[in-house]
């Protein structure tokens, strides 16, 4: 099979002498760094850690559900397991995953800047993330929390004896980490673009991270205040959400979902950006309908703020407002459809090769299509009555977040691994991992659609025996999925030392990040680059390569 990978001659190639990695030495040079690339690496290590922590809880949940009886662990232990799974995965993995690692590393380079606008705030946001993470781990050590990641009042405020306030603090702090990341990105993208780098020359990865950042900045504070009020209600006993004092528990739901619905776009939008880059590169073709894809990201960000009450259709919002929110939910589905078709048509008349990131991107498109369309099920009012709070929701959410976001994250990690580290990952084993992940994913989550329509509620510790077969399939799939996620951890670690030297531009991609050495210098560019070409202009790349050959020759 043909490939576009063009590596330097391995016998003579070496990593660049001076890179952001070897610029300074010692643990302090990492912990006190202001370099966005180093902070990205710190994030990469920490979110990987928390991903496997969250994955462990997921494994325990699946293991418990192997049998209908609640026999592996006690009910409250199980409740703690899925709560910790949700909190760790959402606040400590999904929200920061692509933006804080790949976005942090690449956005300044892609727009031709030397760093993010506020390097110290960038470092601060990593520390806030870590403090949030430590609070979550503290909760674990103290005995866990069992509110579910949604913190439904009055359950979380009055009826649980677990460490709700510690967890609330964790989420509050981690929330500020994400606010600062988003703030930094927005300022950087507005103010730090290189000469000639107009808005419509930005790579789509930058557009989608920009849209996600807007959501972070505007949405997260509302979650923060809601969580503060929950903590105050638990500790002091104020009564804003307490029905016995005249408060409205639905107000908490409104405030919570005002953030937490846009939060799913915070999670998925950067993934969209990765897929745009990957599909374009391996099709050697400009993204079909660049402006449509860019504006659909913005449209998702804007519409994302108008649909939150679709999480509350049966919770007692008025039926009239349910109608409005359902209609708006249908509208927000359209930009995602636009993206899917544009990615597909990007491949048309391309010159396609099938490296690992491309396989993950294929997986992403397939799974995200299912995940997105099953979201329409839940947005349709009458259907939502049957499906909400069942495993159908769980399956839908995981199709979007794991099938979509995690696939995109892995695609991105493989795609930019040569840039991050200067070395290639091993191609064949990574392809195998991509396929295992895909198969394991389908096996894990597809049965959950079926069992969800049968009526199996989510967050159930024990369930009626007739649901067992589907649950067994799901648990079996989770095992496969686990292998699929362990593999990249192992071979990527291996490649740090033994991977082939990647050279500047192994994929022959057009982004500015591929025009500099890998791994990059601390200052990214020696001279501020001047951009005189559109994004994904492969002809420009060809001309440039020719010129360089002449120049060198």
């Amino acid at each position: 099979m043909s490939t576009i990978v063009s590596l330097p001659d391995q016998t003579t190639a070496a990593l660049p002498k001076r890179t952001y990695i070897n610029n300074e030495h010692g643990i302090l040079s990492w912990l006190l760094t202001a370099d966005h690339k180093r902070i990205a690496m710190l994030y990469l290590v920490s979110i990987t850690f928390f991903f496997f922590v969250g994955g462990f809880f997921a494994g325990m949940v699946r293991l418990e559900l192997l049998t209908p009886a609640g026999d592996l662990m006690a009910a409250d232990t199980y409740n703690k397991m899925f709560t910790m799974h949700g909190i760790v995965m959402i606040f400590l993995f999904l929200v920061p995953s692509v933006p804080a690692t790949l976005g942090n590393f690449l956005i300044p380079i892609m727009i031709g800047a030397k760093d993010l606008a506020f390097p110290k705030i960038n470092l601060l946001s990593w520390y806030l993330y870590m403090i949030g993470g430590i609070f979550v781990l503290t909760t674990l050590v103290l005995g866990g929390v069992d509110t579910g990641w949604t913190f439904t009042t009055p359950l979380s405020t009055h009826y649980l004896n677990t460490h709700v306030v510690t967890t609330a603090t964790a989420i509050f702090i981690a929330g500020f980490s994400s606010i600062f990341t988003g703030l930094n990105f927005i300022v950087t993208i507005h103010r730090m673009r290189a000469p000639g780098m107009t808005w419509f020359r930005l790579p789509l990865f930058v557009w989608s991270n920009y849209a996600a950042s807007v959501l972070m900045v505007l949405g997260t504070p509302v979650l923060a205040i809601a969580i503060v009020l929950v903590a105050l209600e638990r500790t002091i006993g104020i009564g804003v959400f307490d029905p016995t004092k005249g408060g409205d528990p639905l107000l908490f739901q409104h405030l919570f979902w005002f953030y937490s619905h846009p939060a799913v776009y915070i999670m998925i939008l950067p993934g969209f950006g990765v897929i745009s880059e990957v599909i374009s590169t391996f099709s050697r073709k400009r993204v079909f309908g660049y402006t449509a894809v860019a504006f659909s990201s913005v449209a998702i960000a804007v519409f994302g703020f108008f649909v939150w009450a679709h999480h509350m259709f049966i919770m007692g919002v008025s039926n009239y407002s349910a109608l409005v929110f359902s209609l708006l939910t249908m509208l927000v589905a359209v930009p995602s459809a636009i993206k899917i078709f544009n990615w597909s048509f990007t491949m048309q008349k391309g010159s396609i090769t099938f490296e690992t990131p491309m396989l993950y991107a294929f997986g992403f498109i397939g799974l995200f299509t299912i995940g997105g369309l099953t979201g329409v099920f839940l947005g349709a009012l009458g259907m939502d009555v049957m499906l909400t709070e069942t495993y159908f929701v769980v399956a839908h959410f995981h199709f979007v977040m794991v099938g979509g976001m995690l696939m995109a994250f892995l695609a991105g990690i493989h795609f930019w691994w040569p840039k991050l580290t200067g070395r290639m990952y091993p191609e064949s084993v990574s392809k195998l991992a991509a396929i295992i992940t895909f198969v394991g994913f389908i096996l894990t989550f597809f049965p959950q659609f079926v069992v969800g329509y049968l009526g199996m509620p989510r967050r159930y510790h024990a369930y009626p025996p007739e649901f067992q077969v589907l649950n067994v399939l799901s648990t079996a799939g989770a095992t496969v999925l686990g292998v699929g996620y362990m593999l990249p951890l192992l071979y990527l670690a291996w490649s740090l030392k033994y991977g082939a030297i990647a050279g500047n531009n192994p994929w022959q991609a057009t982004g500015l990040e591929w025009q500099i050495q890998s791994p990059p210098l601390t200052e990214n560019f020696l001279e501020t680059p001047i951009v005189d070409h559109e994004a994904y202009d492969y002809e420009w790349l060809e001309r440039k390569t020719e010129r360089e050959l002449q120049y060198v020759g």
Partner: protein
């Protein structure tokens, strides 16, 4: 070559006992299923379409066959196509879904009433005739049944998958759901909103019975006191009757026939007397002062349980005239109002 017994058992179990489609046991179920099937057809269509595009392009334009890419900017016509067509489909689904939603949550006027109180971690059902059930509900087939539900503590959710209905049970206010069972049988009842440690234990059985069987069951399981009778006793023991006596000079308004009517308030607004409104007037009387009355009614917040409130609401709903109230006034002791079965306690 023998097959592993574990695998064998798994396979047979799979084939024999594992449903992949929930039973259709209410009038709404086929409609929900129709939308569900339509949505899956749309999903399959979408996935096949995208899959076919990806596959065709991947085969036709792979590097071996198509070494040089042709750069295409995009196409406004195509963009418009895949904006407008999905939008049309989604809007069609919106209309269908909204129609179904209003069908599910808009109860027919003649529906039979059952009250449900949710608490950690059990469901209490109360029939107007005085039948009390825990984690169970008996309903007749062929007749619309409306549940009026409230939670004593946290959010719960009353879900009957076989009937395709579900509604959140909220602390502090009534929510309702209705269904019309078609098939006699025993069905799952789940609490689907996470409600604490024993969330997965908050389950029960819905028994749909033929109307004649249901009649029989009603007779056999009555406690002897209807909810309205309980309500009447509470009404007297709490002293409600002293003001709401129906006399022209009474300090409180006449309650007979009040249910379902629109009431003029002293702030000029009109309020509709629903179940939830009646409940709220007992707990927050100062927010519901009718025109021409003084805000003198004390609150009964914390003095009546949700079950007691249901009894009172049911009593007021059934008051067609003031005869019963007059009766309670004429009786010296509240306890003597109605015959009391020994095992029934007045809910304080």
């Amino acid at each position: 070559m023998g097959i592993s017994p574990v695998l064998w058992e798994f396979l047979t179990k799979w084939l024999t006992t594992s449903p992949v489609w929930p039973r259709e046991a209410s009038t709404i179920a086929p409609w929900t299923d129709a939308l569900y099937i339509f949505l899956w057809l749309m999903t399959v269509f979408g996935v096949v379409l995208v899959g076919a595009l990806l596959f065709t392009f991947a085969v036709r334009y792979r590097k071996e066959r198509h070494p040089v890419a042709v750069q295409i900017e995009g196409s406004t016509l195509l963009e418009a196509t895949w904006t407008i067509i999905p939008l049309g489909i989604f809007l069609f689904i919106f209309v269908w879904g909204a129609w179904l939603y209003f069908r599910i949550y808009n109860p027919p006027a003649d529906a039979m009433q059952v009250y449900v109180v949710g608490k950690q971690w059990m469901w209490k059902a109360e029939h107007p005739g005085g039948q009390h059930e825990i984690n169970a509900l008996h309903v007749p087939t062929g007749r619309p049944v409306q549940l009026t539900m409230i939670s004593q503590d946290v959010f719960h959710s009353y879900s009957i998958p076989a009937f395709r209905v579900k509604r959140e049970v909220i602390p502090g206010r009534y929510s309702t759901v209705w269904f019309n069972a078609t098939e006699p049988g025993v069905y799952h009842l789940f609490c689907t909103q996470y409600c604490g440690t024993l969330h997965s234990g908050m389950i029960g059985e819905i028994t749909a019975m033929r109307p004649e069987d249901y009649e029989k069951w009603t007779k056999e399981s009555t406690s002897g006191m209807s909810l309205a009778q309980n309500g009447e006793r509470l009404f007297a023991s709490l002293g409600c009757n002293s003001c709401h006596s129906g006399n022209a000079a009474a300090a409180g308004p006449n309650l007979a026939g009040v249910y379902g009517s629109k009431i003029k308030m002293d702030d000029g607004s009109e309020q509709l007397a629903t179940d939830g409104w009646l409940r709220d007037t007992i707990l927050n009387p100062s927010q519901h002062v009718p025109l021409g009355y003084k805000p003198i009614m004390p609150t009964y917040q914390g003095q009546i349980s949700e079950e007691g409130l249901i009894d009172l609401v049911e009593y007021i709903k059934q008051l067609k005239n003031n005869y019963r109230i007059q009766q309670t006034l004429n009786t010296a002791k509240a306890e003597d109002v109605a015959p009391v079965t020994p095992d029934q306690k007045v809910t304080p």
